[in-house]
């Protein structure tokens, strides 16, 4: 009972499960299995699937959304959400198109895209942290607000005629089949994984998502961290907007519609608890891959878009529900912070 300096004979092990067991039981392993299954199925179902250029084209199905999903994952882990990301993409694209009318060159267009993203993120962040409003309500509001502005500026028209140098972001290739978008996404994903899993900042996100009060009582500056996450999500939406606008070569006010739900689907499918406090970047990346593979595979089979969305929805529910049904939800443990 004594709390003396040394209590002989009582050594608590650091960990009980070895690294192999942890990998085997992780949510990410399940996602890898699903991805392999879909990949195998697709390669048998269509002779065109395994062509490198076809696969390269397929990555455009998810890269822009997945960039947003990276920041969204951090936000959801910290217990917040941003539903306005699709609208930020539209507003940033509109601002770039508007500047284009006054002869803005590529560097300025990029600066405008990033700046609008950051500004929108700041609006969301200030409303949540300064006014103490729930982020789901704030971002439902700003979702309509940002897209509304895009519609007012554009009406029924579209901005066209982006410079050739600007087109590289969405259409250029860094090497062989690897597009700029794919390389950028891979780089960002690595950066996010490092920040979330290897830094103090990342650790604090898990603490805030699990118990914001205890986090604040532990000296974590909760509101400042939340603000940073909304800024980051805005910035990523700006980057996604540059890529998407560049790839399409035009801006319409409906650009990026529904992106928020696809990004959130990736986050949830990737094993991030929607209630906050757990998840990994690897999971989100795998979920993005799975969604890309499914969309591409079904496209090759000439399955209409509506059926695809049914399939993606079914997949999301299946992947989340099945382990719970068969394993009682215990084996595929979502580790709180790895």
């Amino acid at each position: 009972m004594s709390a003396t300096e040394t209590s002989p004979g009582r050594v608590i092990p650091d960990r009980l499960t070895g690294p192999a067991a942890r990998v085997l039981r992780s949510w990410e392993t399940l996602l890898v299995a699903v991805a392999v299954a879909i990949f195998t199925f697709n390669s048998f179902a269509s002779p065109y699937f395994l062509d490198p250029w076809n696969l390269s084209d397929a990555t455009f199905n998810f890269t822009e959304k997945a960039m947003i999903a990276l920041a969204m994952a951090l936000l959801v882990i910290a217990g917040e959400i941003d539903l306005s990301v699709g609208a930020i993409v539209a507003l940033a694209s509109t601002a770039m198109g508007y500047a284009l009318q006054f002869g803005a060159d590529t560097p300025l267009l990029v600066a405008i895209g990033l700046g609008v993203g950051l500004t929108c993120g700041a609006v969301n962040g200030l409303l949540v942290t300064r006014m103490g409003l729930p982020s789901i309500v704030v971002t439902i509001g700003t979702m309509s607000l940002f897209r509304g502005i895009a519609y007012i500026v554009l009406g029924d028209t579209a901005f066209n005629g982006y410079p050739e140098s600007f087109a590289w972001f969405g259409q250029g290739y860094v090497a062989w089949v690897f597009s700029f978008e794919l390389v950028l996404f891979a780089g960002l994903a690595a950066l996010y994984a490092i920040v979330l899993h290897l830094t103090n900042f990342g650790r604090r996100l898990y603490a805030i998502g699990n118990n914001p009060t205890a986090a604040a009582f532990s000296g974590i500056r909760v509101e400042r961290t939340r603000m940073a996450l909304f800024l980051l999500t805005g910035l990523m939406s700006g980057i996604a907007s540059i890529c998407l606008t560049s790839r399409l070569g035009s801006t319409r006010p409906s650009i990026g519609t529904g992106m928020e739900l696809e990004a959130i689907t990736m986050v949830v499918l990737g094993g991030v608890a929607i209630t906050g406090g757990s998840g990994s970047i690897l999971g989100v990346v795998l979920a993005a891959l799975i969604m890309g593979l499914v969309t591409f595979g079904l496209g090759l089979l000439n399955v209409p878009g509506i059926v695809m969305s049914i399939f993606v929805g079914g997949l999301l529910i299946a992947v989340i529900a099945l382990p719970k049904l068969f394993l009682g939800g215990s084996r595929w443990r979502r580790s709180p912070s790895r």
Binding site: R204, S218, G219
Partner: protein, 518 residues
Amino acid sequence: MLSTHPGIAALRAAPVPHDVRPVLSLRGIAKSFPGVKALQGVDLDLFPGQVTALIGENGAGKSTLVKILTGVNQPDAGTISLEGRPLRFATAQEAARAGVTAIHQETVLFDDLTVAENIFLGHAPRGRFGLIDWGRMRREARAILAHVGAPFDPDTVLRDLGIASKHLVAIARALSIEARVVIMDEPTAALSQKEIEELYDLVERLKAEGKAILFISHKFDEIFRIADRYTVFRDGQMVDAGLIADVSEKRLVEMMVGRTLHSIFPERAPRIGKEVLRVEGYCHPTEFEAIGFTLREGEILGFYGLVGAGRSEFMQALFGATRPSGGRCRIDGQERAIRSPSDAIAAGIVYVPEDRGLQGAVRAMPIFQNMTLPSLHRTSRAGFLRAAEEFALARRYAARLDLRAASLDQPLGLLSGGNQQKVIIGKWLATRPRVIILDEPTKGIDVGSKAAVHEFMAELAAEGLSVIMVSSEIPEILGMSDRVIVMREGRMAGEFAREGLTAETLVRAAAGIGEARE
């Protein structure tokens, strides 16, 4: 003391009838929770038309008894009989149907419903097709409200009412279910003097209607004002029961705190050094005012008071979790502005909260990550986590605190309350503080862990750490403190040296009885 209350002479004039039979009788009630024997062989009788005061310290088993009476918890042993018939309250609904109702400290009513809906929730008058008969409900609500002297309309939304009015609604609800037994759990805790007087009137009226009333209170003046009988609990056992007319206040206090301190506290030879903390004029618009004291190296300063005296609120302001409206704080003679917990941690003040689940533990996170949460800057390099350093720190404090866990990677929420508390104390020690504030450090933890926490506290003080201990347990306050500050209603009600300090003095100062001697 008694003569200060004009009502008492009148009460004494009408002697308590001795020939009535109890409405509700409890015999040999026992209840255990993991690690705690909350009640052991308790007897209680409640008589129609009489008020029985239930007296005891925090943790004496009063709340458990209320939960058993209202069907929230079931006793492990013993019998409950209503008018001689034995019965079991398997659920809260059954207890309500049998006519037992409770009015709590924080009344369990629904803020967004109207007064009438609150009164009749669960037993609303029904009309055709089983739909609620709103007209009848309003009429009946209005009649009951008039009966209890409530000046508001049944259609008022509860949120718009003050705490006293909410009590009236709770009482009206009790009347609407034709309660025979009314339990009032510290009903005056949040009321003004005028509202308390109105409550007394109401209690008299309930008595006149033949209700049996169980009145739980820490305030001796009101016990002598309205109670007919008393029952004293201590450590889950019934110590004594009888007629208020036959007992003195002094005797009740003695029975409540007990003659002996039955827990064993560590022997200490305090080596008290120079002043570390000086607090001046801390104020808050609603919770506390004019709090000032000093704390020295190696000293354990106890803060005693009743629930709601403002102790935790003050400590959280000192820790920067809430903003005081005024006040200054010096550490080692240097003035420090504390606007957030991170300021406090930087200044060397840390706080182990009373509400461990909400404010202390990140339950889903592993033990080692909880331990390092406030000192990540120590275990990391350039903002990058270093797992080896984190485990080393966690191992060090786990060993020092004699932690019991399967592994340091285990989620904190899986540990027992006592071991969770050890982790939280460990996480603060790792920040190398000057002052540690422990708010009810042994609340809700088992006896073994309690002793470990006490010994550890003594050890920390011996190493020169300054300790502030908020506690509502008198033995703990007397057993651990070098000096005690008593708070009452947000103010400092007295400061006492350990030498010669008695439980009676503390209780008197906390309840505002007589003169608190400095």
